[in-house]
Subunit: 332 residues, 2 copies
């Protein structure tokens, strides 16, 4: 799966900003790939990109229309289909992160085939992966792990990629979720892979590489999440990470979606992840803590980070407030 850029961001009739958060993530991290946005009647989201018709997008050189928006009621509506059909006719591919598949819409499938275009349904793995071999691969790897879901793993690895590239390092973000896939142009929705192939899929998206190359692998879930820990463990084993970054959100009252489950301590989370990581890479170590302090005052955030730092003996930063330079420093 390789999604060609530049992109046109399709926002459809997104009722609000939140409905377009995938598109927003792509526009934030790959502004140079996002030539414009396409909005329909009723759209209340705005990426601050030039509004374009499909014809204008094609003329501007757009290669792929990215459906980075949730569809209402899980139905791909007729007005959407007509617009996406036009995109295909004009020679552009279409990529979507919807629960239902573009390729299940007969007319889109037919028009795409007729014009030799590709439909990407990034939530649904489109390759068959091999079972993980567990064999050591060349190149170096970072994996973000977390105390919970949605604590900033994607943001942290993308910020590290950016920091490394700014320093002239050889680094690639490796996506394991839908927004990340649009940002990377490739990857796998790891939670949608058949269970036997979780680790194998991660091996496939972060293959052998040159000795100076860093993969920044997007983490998912948490070893302490009672619903999804299997995904996180398979990801950890497949990644064979040399360096782990612990991601955390300190104000969360309980594990996401599980009111009866408290978050683990940072220490417990680190020791469980390290023990598991050592199975496939005995040299794995933590290099930093990335804390999402969005809900804290600057003062509280500062003293929290300082306390974590002295307690764990690792750089503790909020990637948004402080950047990730001090974590990347650990990898020299």
């Amino acid at each position: 799966m390789d999604i060609q850029h530049p992109y046109l961001m399709f926002l459809g009739d997104a009722p609000d900003r939140l409905a377009a958060k995938t598109a927003q993530g792509v526009a934030d991290w790959r502004p140079e790939w996002c030539l414009g946005q396409f909005r329909m009647e009723g759209c209340n989201a705005d990426l601050q990109l030039p509004d374009m018709t499909m014809e204008e997008a094609a003329a501007a050189g757009v290669k792929t229309v990215i459906v980075g928006v949730a569809n209402r009621g899980g139905v791909i509506s007729k007005p959407w289909i007509a617009v996406l059909e036009r995109a295909l006719e004009l020679g552009m591919d279409v990529a979507a992160g919807l629960h239902n598949r573009l390729s299940d819409v007969a007319v889109l499938r037919e028009v795409a085939a007729h014009h030799g275009r590709t439909l990407f349904d990034v939530r649904h793995p489109q390759e068959d992966y091999a079972v993980a071999s567990g064999k050591k691969r060349s190149g170096k790897r970072v994996l973000a792990v977390g105390t919970d879901c949605s604590v900033g793993k994607m943001y942290t690895t993308l910020a590290m990629e950016k920091e490394m590239r700014t320093r002239g390092w050889n680094a690639d973000f490796r996506a394991t979720g839908q927004t990340g896939i649009f940002i990377a142009g490739s990857g796998v929705s790891i939670d949608a892979v058949v269970a036997d192939f979780i680790s194998g899929a991660v091996e496939a998206i972060s293959p052998e590489n040159s000795d100076d190359h860093w993969d920044l692998i997007e983490g998912q879930g948490s070893l302490f999440h009672a619903s999804f820990a299997g995904v996180s463990l398979g990801l950890l084993h497949g990644a064979q990470a040399d360096a782990l970054v612990l991601c955390h959100e300190p104000t969360r009252p309980h594990m996401r979606g599980l009111p009866d489950y408290k978050l683990p301590s940072l220490e417990d989370c680190m020791s469980a992840n390290l023990a598991a990581a050592h199975l496939t890479n005995p040299d794995a170590r933590f290099v930093g803590v990335a804390v999402n302090t969005f809900h804290m005052s600057p003062e509280d955030a500062g003293s929290y980070l300082q306390e974590v730092e002295s307690r764990l003996g690792l750089p503790a930063v909020d990637p948004v407030r402080n950047g990730v330079g001090r974590i990347v420093d650990q990898l020299n």
Copy 2:
């Protein structure tokens, strides 16, 4: 998924005994359900059951024909299809544990629909499972965990079900693999579930029950298997086991399929499983060790078990040589 018994065991043209090992497992554990076997030209397997034609099977009251055999080259051959079609016409369901699906064979699908019969492809989950809730369920649960794949988890849990039922306890084996599903008549091939739903599927197959009821949940893989540990962890969390049994095969030179990976020590395996199990059931504990000593002399097996028992302070038995009574005693 509820597969109706009694069964006719379809052996097709199984080239040898090993090709029919699934069928053999069903005949061993559910002899009262297996009324006969169906063998074709070239079949070299024999379950020591009465040979029956499809007509004889239907007349004898068979409800389901079990395809408990590997098909050559991954193709469901024409002679097989003709026979299975006849079974459907005679009013029997057909259940298979093949990699490819019966329901992908158009004629079988049509004949089944026409006669109101069901095709079960037990390797392929046929239900949509919910994400695990992590909520404590009533009833009690045993889970078999292992140092590796294929070390006797299914055998151990089936033997415990048998022992408990002999003692008049309220107990049900819960299947997580294809042979187990035929033996239980229901269950889920847990390694074929989409990754996000591993724990949820296990919650679904071992639901709330009366306080005196024991689920004996078939384990899969190992937390120490670099290819499949995610499946094992999701299974462990979904099971919310009260009691764990450690399964082991002491003569194995390395992890199955992974020449570079040694087996963990029993102690490391127990502590990793306990730590993870405590997330969804803080009272989880080990109650015994089930060792497959098939490749050892009776003397070596005896002294090995004695050594393990005194080292770990838990009953250590070979379920085949010694039975599992001493493990079940721990659950009183």
